[in-house]
Symmetry: C2
Subunit: 234 residues, 2 copies
């Protein structure tokens, strides 16, 4: 009797924005795993904390923040083997995923290594994209808008081309790309159509016009939302 | 004491994919409202049904399926007045929204009419976009992919241009636009990269390669997911 691997979307930050299904599975599984930086807190673990019954085996998947390919592959290979041991022994394993497991999440790297060997169940969650829109109090997209989700690490020219063509856009992975993004939005005359959200639905949540941000780096949990027609939904 | 208007994301279909927060608010409010076709069932009401305590005032917002501008405006104007009556009398009102309230949802039309007059709280939900990816067992987007959410009612040339430029795409509002979409995907040589999901997370859920669909119309609750590199997430 092989165990099942669950990818559990724990939602964007507010622990109350977890689904009933995710909550139930977290009560039932003997093993949980969660991503974390090499040192410091796992945000996924923090979001899920109040929903864990205690007494579970916990596996930290600690990842260097640098994006060098080699060590990342090794970390996922090793994590996959650890999880496979539990699954082979018949124990279900839940991997905690910030937001939704299949929206730019690291769960996909475990999924790629394990989906052919073990039964996998993916529990979708509230993603930071819609949490950001709720925090702003403005629709993400309306009517026949094309909505573009654009990673800020793209090269500057590509970022500009994508934003120039977007009706509505969410810019993710802002991090250290804030200065580049500021230049691009200014050239496109879109800075006044852009708003910045940090830690949506968490106690630290802040929302402000993009034009008022002066820093050159943003935390990982930040988004910039752009809508060409500011009140398109009216 | 004015009541609060809540836009409640009830999730994509499986009643267990509602959030704890949405569930709590549905227990507490004296008035709920939900969109429905002129005749027949409200999908939002059906999804939320097992979470309603009973005894609440229920307001149906019934909408003709035709998209003529005039009657739609009248329906929202009238619904807004009805809800305003409850809010002015101090009663909280929860509007049930399929998926997430701010992802192409009709809630935005009520929001536009009421946000300046009454306190509004938006509770984000699991959207059909991520539910579709979970149903397919494939990530929606990965790494530095640009994810495009593209409404199928767009004119054929525009639909083609948008799809030609997409790393990963979710095509929404497929409905009677299936034949047009089939032509576009064939011209772009993307038909074999496209998969079709109907009623994701509901008992009626079906998933199949797009190329095997022969109908010319799809139900409202259907999506087509396209990824240029089929296994980009591996």
């Amino acid at each position: 009797m092989t165990g099942t691997l669950y990818g559990i979307g724990v939602g964007p930050g507010d622990p109350e924005l977890i689904t009933l299904k995710a909550h139930r599975i977290l009560q039932e599984v003997p093993v949980i795993a969660w991503p974390a930086p090499l040192e410091g807190e796992s945000m996924a673990r923090r979001i899920a904390a109040t929903h864990l019954p205690g007494g579970q085996t916990e596996i930290a998947i600690r990842m260097p923040l640098s994006v060098d390919r080699f060590p990342v592959e090794v970390v996922y290979d090793e994590a996959a083997e650890t999880l496979a041991g539990h699954l082979t022994a018949g124990r279900d394993v839940a991997v905690l995923c910030e937001g939704d497991p299949f929206v730019y999440g690291s769960f996909m790297y475990l999924f790629a290594r394990m989906a052919e060997r073990f039964p996998v169940g993916v529990v979708p969650g509230v993603s930071s994209l819609t949490a950001g829109a709720a925090a702003l109090g403005a629709p993400l997209a309306a009517r026949n808008d094309v909505l573009s989700v654009i990673p800020a690490p793209l090269p500057e020219a590509m970022l500009e081309r994508r934003l120039a063509d977007a009706d509505a856009a969410v810019i993710i992975k802002v991090g250290r790309h804030l200065a580049k993004l500021r230049r691009v939005l200014a050239r496109l005359d879109l800075a006044d159509h852009a708003r910045y959200v940090e830690y949506a639905t968490m106690p630290e949540q802040t929302v402000q016009p993009f034009a008022t941000i002066s820093a050159d780096a943003a935390p990982y949990f930040s988004l910039v939302l752009v809508h060409r027609r500011g009140d398109a939904w009216r």
